[in-house]
């Protein structure tokens, strides 16, 4: 193990030991210990809820409910996973329950997200059907870009949005995503890839509509 990795490893062990101690204190009724655990995780949970719901109000409600449930069930937390992962699971269950009430459309078939060359074969080097984004940061303000991305994520059907956000925004492994969404790794992988294709397609259409003339 490299020296810097070794230091990071010790930091990780130190954090987990510190977390265990905070959890132990919180479970004995120490609010300040619980507040420290919340402080370490609240922005991540809020961002996750914001991405899952697509709006501030629902994200606030879910964060609030997550933390209230964490208080109610703190004595049930056994420490098998990190406290953050436990909060994550509560957040995902709440978001899923909220969307389970709404009718969800599915994604289009895979081939709808692929240009004709991919579906029918062959190399068509002339008149490319695919729009080349180049660098979207050069074409629009970061805030505008963020709005477009958030809107596109929020338009994905929930089961794909969940897989996409956990894998690519939260940067969890496929195995971790599969565990959180309670699917097999193969099914999770397929869901993640379809979501990525659908997101690419959505962003491509927006960029082409808005900036096609400037880029091509």
């Amino acid at each position: 193990m490299k020296f810097c990795n070794l230091l990071n490893h010790f930091d990780y062990i130190g954090d987990r030991m510190n977390e265990k101690e905070l959890v132990r204190k919180a479970q004995s009724g120490d609010f300040d210990a619980f507040a420290k655990l919340v402080d370490a995780n609240k922005e991540r949970i809020y961002s996750l809820a914001r991405k899952m719901t697509g709006n501030d109000q629902d994200a606030e409600d879910i964060l609030q409910e997550t933390l209230l449930r964490a208080i109610d069930k703190i004595d049930q937390f056994r420490g098998d996973a990190s406290f953050g992962t436990w909060l994550y699971t509560i957040t995902l269950n709440l978001a899923r329950a909220q969307f389970a009430k709404k009718k969800q459309t599915d994604l289009q078939p895979l081939e709808d997200y692929l240009p004709g060359t991919f579906v029918n074969g062959g190399h068509h080097h002339e008149g490319s059907a695919l729009f080349d984004w180049k660098d979207p940061h050069k074409l629009m303000e970061s805030e505008q870009l963020r709005d477009i991305i958030d809107k596109s994520i929020s338009e994905l059907p929930y089961k794909y949005r969940e897989a996409f956000v956990l894998r690519f925004v939260e940067e969890l492994s496929v195995k971790e995503v599969a565990r959180l969404i309670q699917q097999s790794e193969a099914s999770t992988k397929s869901r993640i890839f379809r979501a990525r294709l659908a997101m690419r397609d959505k962003l491509s259409k927006v960029f082409e509509n808005e900036y096609g003339g400037k880029v091509s």
């Binding site: 809020y46 991405k51 240009p115 062959g122 190399h123 990525r196």
Partner: protein, 82 residues
């Protein structure tokens, strides 16, 4: 280059995650060198993730911070004063 674009679609996900064998990786990259469509597809699929990842964590609005503090303390006191 023997393969056509559809031959690589099933491997694209693994390729983007760095999960293909060195031989298949070399084959896909040779194809990308020849095929503009596939190159754009791979570039934009990569950018999709980069764009979504940037600035992922959002700070809590101050009003929410304040509301949470009092709400959590109230619930805490209710639970532990039993």
């Amino acid at each position: 280059m023997a393969g056509k674009c559809p031959d690589y679609i099933n491997d694209l996900s693994d390729y983007l995650d760095g999960g293909v064998s060195p031989e298949l990786c070399a084959e896909i990259e040779a194809h990308l060198g020849e095929c503009r469509e596939c190159r754009i597809m791979v570039d934009t699929l990569r950018q999709t993730v980069t764009l979504c990842r940037a600035g992922a964590e959002e700070p809590l609005p101050q009003a929410l911070e304040n509301k949470l503090k009092s709400l959590l303390r109230q619930r805490w006191e209710k639970k532990f004063s039993k």
